[in-house]
């Protein structure tokens, strides 16, 4: 499903210094896998996520998503892929603060070429993550764990094939973290492809496959459960 070949990414910092964030990363991820990518902070995890999520383009290398060479696509096509195939979950939730849970979950459907009853679908997904009684709450009226569940509902609403989670428990206490991880395990059982980036070892241990990175390179890649 996902094929990365020799992906490198360099940033120019302050116009002069070149920073190599990713160096020849090659990866294959199959449909239905639950992968944790572990790396110390600032070691290219987020960049890798952005490339996997078609938000960013690699400096060199090829990325095939379901057989399509992504780096050859134009911006509109990438937007469509993000909309239909990828669900993002962020460390800071990234909910619209003044919008209700329901409106937040409806967001991806606004940009979907498919039509349908936005409200109905969003309510269904919110029910599925256990927030059926909170649909009209604003993010500020919800706990951190509940906010992240809204964000997960938003990631799921367009029924994507891949969920990309960037430190999804990074801003949560341990009880909420456990809740969220349980939710991810349920998604995995539903045969979705899950890719989770974290620097916390105990969170990474919940995945089925662990990829460890250091200095922009993959150092270990093994099945753990």
């Amino acid at each position: 499903m996902i094929e990365l070949r020799d992906i490198s990414k360099t940033y120019k910092k302050n116009g002069e210094m070149e920073v190599r964030v990713l160096q020849s990363v090659s990866l294959d991820i199959k449909k239905g896998e639950f992968v944790a990518i572990m790396a110390p902070s600032g070691m290219g995890k987020t960049t890798l996520m952005n490339i996997l999520g078609c938000l960013d383009r690699p400096t060199s290398g090829t990325y095939r998503l379901e057989g399509v060479e992504v780096e050859k696509l134009d911006d509109d096509h990438l937007s469509l892929i993000r909309n239909e195939k990828i669900g993002f979950v962020f460390q800071t939730f990234n909910l619209l603060p003044r919008a209700s849970a329901l409106e937040n979950v409806e967001l991806p459907m606004i940009y979907s070429p498919r039509s349908g009853d936005l409200r109905k679908k969003a309510t269904e997904v919110l029910n599925a993550v256990g927030l059926g009684d909170r649909v009209h709450y604003k993010p500020s009226e919800l706990s951190g764990g509940q906010q992240q569940r809204v964000a997960i509902a938003r990631a799921l609403v367009n029924n994507p094939s891949i969920i990309l989670a960037d430190e999804p428990t990074g801003n949560l206490d341990s009880a909420s973290s456990l809740e969220i991880m349980a939710l991810f395990e349920n998604l995995h059982r539903d045969d979705r492809t899950l890719i989770l980036v974290t620097h916390e070892a105990d969170i990474a241990q919940r995945a089925k496959r662990l990829i460890q990175m250091k200095d922009g390179r993959v150092v270990t890649d093994k099945k753990i459960r």
Partner: protein, 404 residues
Amino acid sequence: MKTERTIKESLKGLGRNKTRTFLMMLGIIIGITTLTIIVSAILGAKSNVMEVVAKFGLDEIMVSAGAGRVMGVQQDVPVTTLKLEDSEAILSEVKNVKGVAPSINTRAMPLKSANGNTEATVIATIPQWVDVWEWYARLGEFITDEDLASLAKVSVIGQTVAKELFGNEDPVGKQIHIRGVPFIVKGVLEAKGVGPMGTDLDNRVLIPLTTGQKRLLNREHLSQIKVKLRDPRNMKSTVEEIRQLLRERHNLQAGVEDDFSFVTPKQVTEVATEVSTALSLFLIVISAISLIVGGIVVGNIMLISVGERKREIGLRRALGARKKDILTQFLFESIAVTVSGGLLGVILGLAGGKILSLFTKLSMVISWEPFALAFLFSGLVGVLAGISPAKRAASLDPVEALRS
């Protein structure tokens, strides 16, 4: 479908930040409000002018004694060129002339009755004056040919004079003194209101021409001749015909200036419009400036808003929004703000104009024009103010935007 959802998203965004939305609207509201009041006032003034012209008559020409007389400016030095015979010649020799009303007009003549005194314009004229001016006696009767023949000391007074000298009493049959000479009031004219230059047309007294010449004013020559045409479409050629006739009768050599002048309905319109046009142009410029300032405010707040909402933009891009969708969202926010501000402004402007017209002499006309103008201008301002911030929002790098 998709665009519709994006537009809905813009409206939701505006609703979520009401203070910002209102601040953006404010400049536009003010601009369109003033524009509406001005347009209503201009339309009102225009309809006033049309009324004035209608009062003057579209089929009438005024021939006045003396050269280059400016309308509404009375001359103090009597010009002795225009004679009663000129008037008779115009009627008999120019085919397109239906009637003439020669008159001697004297301003500010002292009037007295048993009840009070006042000043008014005294007009010495002939019975045909009634038909040429289409202005009739409301009470009593008008001057007759017998009055003219017998140099009768009779008068027909305007409503203002009647009110000043007799209050609510019936003046017919009563006596007045014009500069000390006693006259009997035969009739009262119907009310005409205010003339083209703001003078009170009802403040006048009419007496027989002959009486005026021999017994009151001691002068033969006329002040003016009002000429009524058969066919107003031949206005220009008729004016020329009268000019040639009078030049001949006055023995004017080629190259010598006319010793009389014309006022036509066209001139009345021009004089009456001139003043209001200059003023309204100035006011339109002012409201255009306030609209531009309003547009700049909208553009600025939009730019700030784009900066503040980078994360939102990054998020929307991550969730699948295309550049186009972001552009549409922000551009529509701007247009929605200015157009709704514009419509609010029209409503406020019409209400404000109505209130103004109650307290001032300005007349306001309520019509569809302000709505069309407001819609057009505020929409235009919305596009101009919104396009650059919307482009900036659309071109943000999603990764950068999410990180902010």
